[in-house]
Subunit: 342 residues, 2 copies
Amino acid sequence: MAEPSRQQSVPSVARQVHLASRPRGWPASENFAVVEAPVPEPAAGQVLVRNLLMSVDPYMRGRMNDVKSYVPPFRLGAPLDGGAVGEVVVSAADGLRPGDLVLHGLGWREYALVDAGSARVIDPALAPVSAYLGVLGMPGLTAYAGLLEVAGMRPGDTVFVSAAAGAVGSLVGQLARLKGAARVIGSAGSPAKVAHLRALGFDAAFDYHDRPVRESLREAAPDGIDVYFDNVGGDHLEAAISALRPHGRVAICGMISQYNAEEPAAAPRNLALLIGKQLTLRGFLVSSHEGLREQFVTKVSGWVRSGELRYDETVVEGIEAAPAAFLGLLRGENLGKMLVRL
Amino acid sequence: MAEPSRQQSVPSVARQVHLASRPRGWPASENFAVVEAPVPEPAAGQVLVRNLLMSVDPYMRGRMNDVKSYVPPFRLGAPLDGGAVGEVVVSAADGLRPGDLVLHGLGWREYALVDAGSARVIDPALAPVSAYLGVLGMPGLTAYAGLLEVAGMRPGDTVFVSAAAGAVGSLVGQLARLKGAARVIGSAGSPAKVAHLRALGFDAAFDYHDRPVRESLREAAPDGIDVYFDNVGGDHLEAAISALRPHGRVAICGMISQYNAEEPAAAPRNLALLIGKQLTLRGFLVSSHEGLREQFVTKVSGWVRSGELRYDETVVEGIEAAPAAFLGLLRGENLGKMLVRL
């Protein structure tokens, strides 16, 4: 192909967020550095994207540790990455044109050089671009696959979800209701969030700071639960195992209570209950459930358009605020999806 | 029907073992009482059975506690019960005649009054009667269903089983080999048992007293495992979770390390690994897998006859020794199935 096509003038340098040091325990702002770097020119098959919104997600905490896991650790002195949406400003790739809006995996920077194969064009007429990072994106598919495929939720089930005011949890609870759950229970970290869960249609909700989770859950689900969608681990998981009825199922999506622990975390001491109650605990990654994406997008976008499913966003402004947004996410300062507008 | 038919003279009193008190922690002989009781006469639809062999099983420990579980607790001052085989001596039931050998659930007594619907006639020409309490009975079906249905073992899997010299574990390891496992690893509690596992065809075996299970398992399975059949819980489960490869599966059959614990037991602190490795932990009861029984009996009896599958029995003589047999089982004094000959 000929010269890369460009729509607008591009600065020669732009900002990105580096991992300056690896956190021990809770991360802090000094673990991050906002640095200026040259804006590169796309090679053949690439596009230069001006990022509009980037996502911060709990799983990123694990990537800050130097351990082998399902995704490689972030490198020191290099930009972080993660979900982002942006506008193609220079294209050297067939099929992508300046002005196209794309979803890709190179957030934490104002301008991203993206391989065309890693960018997915999104349609702002179908949904706000932010939705592609939340309700119609990775968190949405996580909720959908975890609840329906991993936990195998069935109509009539009583469903409990932790971190229920977060991007994933708030969808899990609403999806459970839409799929015919008998009762939906959520836990969250503040009275305002608890009130919000009730407004979203949760049958019961509690603040896990108030009392032992076990007690709150017993009161909220006196007859037990069938499904637990775990975003938290620790005492939430232990309480859920005690509350589960025979053949109950746990989809383990995250354990945010443990991500900043410097010691091995407290573990559920009641795993022997798995035997007599014939329980299943299953960890999962959304990446293994791509086969559900089409069904998920069709169903969930329909429910969003009809107003049956609501989603919330907490948006922080400017790349320099991205580290604070991430730290705030770990402290639970968000309602719904935490995003940074660049 | 007419008078009950009888084959032989029946004593007026016989011995049975009662639960004298509920153990705290490790049970002891004073928790049991061998008492004489009148031998009853069968009512219509019942048979009187002279028990020949009775089973002692780890799950019985849980029934000694006064807690609601999947089977009701044993009652104080009443006979214990459990698997037994015996000979019908008086029948007041159609279809059962004196001399028939039957498998039933009223062990821990010399004579049992059994509802005909709870007795299954067994054929001593097909297998020794003891096999119906072990390799062809509940422990055998437990191993078969747990390995193949609950853990979904596939050819090429590396399989680890704990309490591998016990009635269930020794079958799990051999079934895994017969079903095409790439590598079979067992843990047991003595050097003699470890040697026995190697003789049974296990590729690797270790004594869990020697070193931390995690270290022994890493050496025995340097490339990790795909399936763990858990009879033990605690540090074995934690080590297995660390060793499991992506999409690994755990069938949780028992947690004998915890049955006598007076405090809530140590729990695996690495459950967060379930997420990134997409692991499944599933507790099960053999009673939910009756649908496999016919297939199981056909396959396993064939392997036993051909000599491809071996089974061991540790037999203790006399009902007065039944409590000691049970206590010995909890301490791991058995090789293979622990039985009491009455």
